[in-house]
Symmetry: C2
Subunit: 163 residues, 2 copies
């Protein structure tokens, strides 16, 4: 009761009584010929699920002839599949790599953007300060109320940029 599992001992779904051995081609491999009498396929063909002795099976609902391991065509199919599998996995892996790289790129881009924002912000604040300063100067210079100038002390449009 210590392990969080043991879903099912080991009873693999599809047995997996796999015994590779390309009968044709490939000669001096390495497969120890030990496992000799290896040919009989389970032959699990449930005679016929439903339908006692029916004949008409339109959609052809046969479970599947356990593929003769010996069949030459079987090996061919397997091989094709193995190739496909390999290909598929390669892609998958490649995609993962690409995605990771994408992350890196985006991260860089992000930094660039943030830097730019910082710069722009700085520039803005400088300009604003200049504005204020200028306004002050004006106020100081136009101090002498000699003239009948009714100029107001500048609108001071400081858009309080918040964020």
């Amino acid at each position: 009761m210590s392990r969080p599992s043991q879903p099912k001992i080991n009873t693999a779904d599809h047995n997996s009584v796999s015994v590779i051995q390309s009968q044709a081609h490939a000669s001096s491999s390495s497969l120890p010929a030990s496992v000799a009498g290896l040919q009989q396929v389970p032959q699990l063909v449930p005679a016929n699920p439903s339908a006692g002795g029916g004949k008409a099976l339109p959609p052809s609902k046969m479970k599947k002839p356990p593929a003769d391991k010996d069949s030459d065509e079987y090996r061919q199919r397997r091989e094709r599949n193995n190739l496909a599998v390999k290909k598929s996995r390669m892609r998958s892996k490649q995609k993962a790599l690409d995605t990771q790289q994408r992350v890196n790129e985006l991260k860089e881009e992000n930094e660039r953007l943030e830097a730019k924002i910082k710069l722009l912000s700085k520039e803005l604040s400088v300009l604003k300060d200049l504005f204020l300063e200028h306004a002050h100067n004006l106020a100081d210079n136009v101090q002498p109320p000699t003239g009948a100038d009714g100029s107001s002390p500048a609108p001071n449009n400081s858009s309080t940029n918040g964020q």
Copy 2:
């Protein structure tokens, strides 16, 4: 040229003559007891590599007894490994998902930043325009008509910011 095409027909490195079937426990499985005589292990034990009658064999370079498939301990190890494998793969997949999500997040963030930049830029340009306008006004107003005032036409500090 780049197509790995057919690396090697199908000769798996490690044969892979796997014939699952936990002898003990597991009763009414599905594996037909067909594959009968299945036990003889190659027993590739080279008597003794080096050292004729030596005793001390520190690095002990034995290849490895082909693990008795029947061994109870073997099944145990296999099962443990199978679990580990499953775990590892789950992680891997999860990681991939996370990475993908990271991409999405970064992409969003990027858009936000770009928007901000756009805004700041706009603000900046507005302010600059104001500056210029103001400068012009000054120039127009302070037109030295006849006064003996030696004031120059303003420094016109337009920092032609380029970026």
